[in-house]
């Protein structure tokens, strides 16, 4: 790791101020991507601005069916939240299957969505749940927040403060993990509220998380796993690497989607 300066921010304003003052600053949350990258000397931020101790950024509040998860809430805290598990078990399940216990004890929801790793789990949930990303400057829908590979709509000094969503009637997340990294080779989040069906896919897209239109269309007509049998998931635009070809990923997207639907329908 290269030499860096560490600052524990006391407020979002303090964090933004420090970021603007830094030559090449980085916000630090759980650090589950940033710290290993720095240890490998692949990143050398001049300043690390730690957001984890800012009051009000941590914790889960549930009001009726509205859920607000503070940005520095760990995956472990989400996965073990009893009230949330009753309201939206798909998201606690998802959080409980990110990485391993060490990662879940450190990694945060804000860090995950701000990093927008194309194989991260949370972006699917946000997209499928039509969640709102609340930042230090504005609120914007997940569909506008996620831009591309490791790319979001965030401005350099903008900080994710919370994720908000309305719990769907039903939802499920299924992922096929990379056996080494445990990131998704294909992860599919299916959410159903009334007749509205949203399907989001991670791990597979060349451009990161995306909504699977053809799957949504089929499921809107007939919400049943068998309804996907005749749908072809195209390998076009899917990633191909040493772990999985685009064809294999296309297959997995369909298989995971069917399993998610089966869980909801069953």
């Amino acid at each position: 790791m290269y030499e860096t300066h560490y600052h524990r921010a006391t407020s979002v304003e303090d964090a933004a101020k420090n970021m603007n003052a830094a030559e090449d600053g980085k916000f630090l949350a759980g650090g589950m991507t940033l710290i290993p990258t720095m240890k490998q000397r692949l990143a050398s931020p001049s300043n690390l601005i730690d957001l984890r101790h800012i009051p009000g950024l941590k914790g889960i509040t549930i009001t009726g069916r509205t859920v607000r998860i503070g940005a520095v809430t760990t995956h472990s805290d989400v996965s073990t939240h009893a009230e949330l598990a009753k309201l939206c078990p798909a998201i606690t399940f998802l959080a409980g299957h990110i990485g391993d216990p060490h990662v879940r004890n450190m990694g945060t929801i804000g860090g995950s969505v701000a990093n927008n790793d194309p194989a991260a789990d949370y972006p699917t949930a946000l997209l499928a749940l039509d969640a709102t990303v609340v930042t230090s400057q504005r609120s914007l829908p997940a569909s506008e927040f996620f831009v591309g590979l490791f790319e979001t709509a965030l401005e350099p000094d903008e900080i994710v403060t919370a994720i908000e969503f309305t719990a769907p009637d039903k939802a499920a997340y299924k992922k096929f993990p990379n056996p080494a990294s445990l990131y998704a080779v294909a992860g599919v989040f299916v959410a159903k509220s009334g007749n509205d069906v949203r399907v989001a896919v991670t791990g597979a897209g060349e451009n990161g998380v995306f909504r699977a239109d053809e799957l949504e269309a089929a499921l809107t007509k007939n919400f049943n796993a068998a309804a996907l049998d005749d749908v072809t998931v195209s390998a076009d635009g899917l990633m191909s690497d040493m772990h999985a070809s685009a064809d294999y990923r296309a297959n997995l997207v369909k298989v995971m989607a069917k399993r998610a639907v089966a869980e909801i329908a069953g």
Partner: protein
Amino acid sequence: MGVEGIGARVLRKEDKRFLTGKGRYTDDMVVPGMKHAAFVRSPHAHAKITGINTDAARKMPGVIGVLTGRELKADGIGNLICGWMVHSKDGTPMKMGAWSPLATDVVRYVGDAVAIVVADSKGEARDAAEAVDIAYEELPVLVNATAALQQGAPQLHPEAPGNLIFDWDIGDEKATAEAFAKAAHVTRLDIDNNRLVPNAMEPRAALGLYDEAEDHYTCWTTSQNPHVARLVMSAFYNVAPENKLRVIAPDVGGGFGSKIFIYPEEIVCLWASKKTGVPVKWVADRSESFLCDAHGRDHATHAEIAFDKDHRILGLKVETIANLGAYMSLFSSSVPTYLYATLLSGQYDIPAIHANVKTVYTNTAPVDAYRGAGRPEASYVLERIMETAARELKLSPAELRRRNFIRSFPHQTPVIMAYDAGDFDATLDASMKAADYAGFEQRRTEAAGRGKLRGIGMSCYIEACGIAPSAAVGSLGAGVGLWESAEVRVNAVGTVEILTGSHSHGQGHETTFAQLAAERFGVPLDSISIVHGDTDKVQMGMGTYGSRSGAVGMSAVVKAMDKVEAKAKKIAAHLLEADEADIEIKNGDVRVAGTDKSLPWFQVALSAYTAHNLPSGMEPGLKETAFYDPTNFTFPAGCYICEVEIDPDTGATQIVQFVAADDFGKIINPMIVEGQVHGGLAQGIGQALLEGTHYDETGQLLTASYMDYTMPRALDLPSFKVMTTETPCPSNPLGIKGCGEAGAIGSPPAVMNAITDAIHNNNLTMPATPQKVWAAIQAAK
């Protein structure tokens, strides 16, 4: 058997310090004035070095010295060598390319060391290492062994034309051809054995200390064999004469073969300590371990097996290309030859075998012994082709094997080995019973009802352990003898210290070696200490690899204990005024058999040291040394049965049952043996299902971290059913065969036989990742 003696399931004495984080590893060693090293490594797989400029690096904060290969050469430090001579079939010696500890002219793999930086802190050393300016002129790259042999392939070493190190064969080519001419059935198979990264939990490390006043070096290092390290560093690398070099291998966190070899880093740290005047410590980070630890396996093989009309094997033909990487590591030549092809007869009576092995250079990390070393590759070839043949012949895999088992011993195979003992039916029967082999088809049907593909696969392995006797390995080209030594010291109060040339890096020697003395002298385990891993404390020894500590190391202890016992009996007979022949040692007493005349053990020991009343002419003291050279290899063997369920939609394989029945001969501590088998199985299953090493065409290692290289996790493994049968080994006094490598040898073919059975497609390579299994299922449709 006493409660702590041979056969007792006692808990490991060493575990308290390991489990409480109190182990003392090389990185825990701190000496006054110690500084830290970082190596400058090649980012290119193959390039000419056209210039090295260290000026900027020298000016970096905290830097004490920046040293390069030219200075190393000027000081007379020698090139690394391969210590096992193998001759090609035309009689020419192997073509060993020069391997300088720090490259001077050409780099040949990503990670090749070019310079060392010594600085006040590890961070400063790394910062300065990045400031070393090396100009490279890139050369064409080879990563694939078969491609390396093609006409016009880039040339890696001037010493090895066509990148061919040797073209070796074993067995009788003519007799094998004749056997095939008579065959009623021939099964043919192309078989790849995937390259593995060792991944010991503790990365390699070295701390070099040069004492100018004494002109003496000390090296703490992660070694499985500190005496061999001292010998090789003295005799070949000219670091220092043996009496001026102390090598200490303290607690070592796993080796699996990768810590047998002497690597550039320990040599360079010792030399750098003299050059800079400070003790120099280097600890590999995980990325360096991936890039620079000697890898394992990497064979491409074509095999053919011939049967007569009664399904008896007539002959076996094997053609293997083995990738040895960029340089010949210390024992690299022996692994794909004498540790591989000599085991191709397996558990079967095969009248004629011929194997040809070509070893080649590529721009990849050097390849050498890794848990099993050659024997897993042999078992994989033979047990995959046997299972394939059984399917072709429509015979039960168990029946085909049984029809060909060797049943009379000793048995001379056509490929050097003379098996001394075994009962292959016993392990096959035991594992089939434990696996409920007969009930499999019912389980397959039940699984199909759940949408799962269930398969079963078997593997009957044999291996050669001990890696001895010395004269035999010498005749095959080994540069060292492969005996072992022990010293047994009985202290004046009766406590015992055993100094062994074996080295424990996870095997539990502090417990099992102590059990031998507990059994023999009736001394409690707490009163017995095992001393190992320090060339200043322990007499010359050969170290631990090839499952040899039990068969060879313990035998040396037994020999030394025989001498101690004889002397103790003489002393007791003298004190008790009895005949020496009537003296026995029982329950901690030395007594006259059949009488109540006895002396406590400690009193006999004390008498040896007070020397007030010893038999006339006897020297005081109770301490004996022995060197033991066995009469043969040992031959552990067993039968493994793996049962899998595959999700046809994703290709994911779950091992639902794994049975291992092993014949390890005599067992000292069943709990430790089970642990060894569990670990070996995890590694073998890791190879079969998870561990894939990928270099891209430019020679970059793509699987260079745990993000991409899959180590087996607990969830990937079933709860193993392990059991043992016993035919004592006649070649050593305890009857031990060795158990360290068996799991890694026997399991890969069992897993692959099970998967290919489940998916009805035999065309599948390791690791059988979900993607590959899914694709094989699609292809079979």
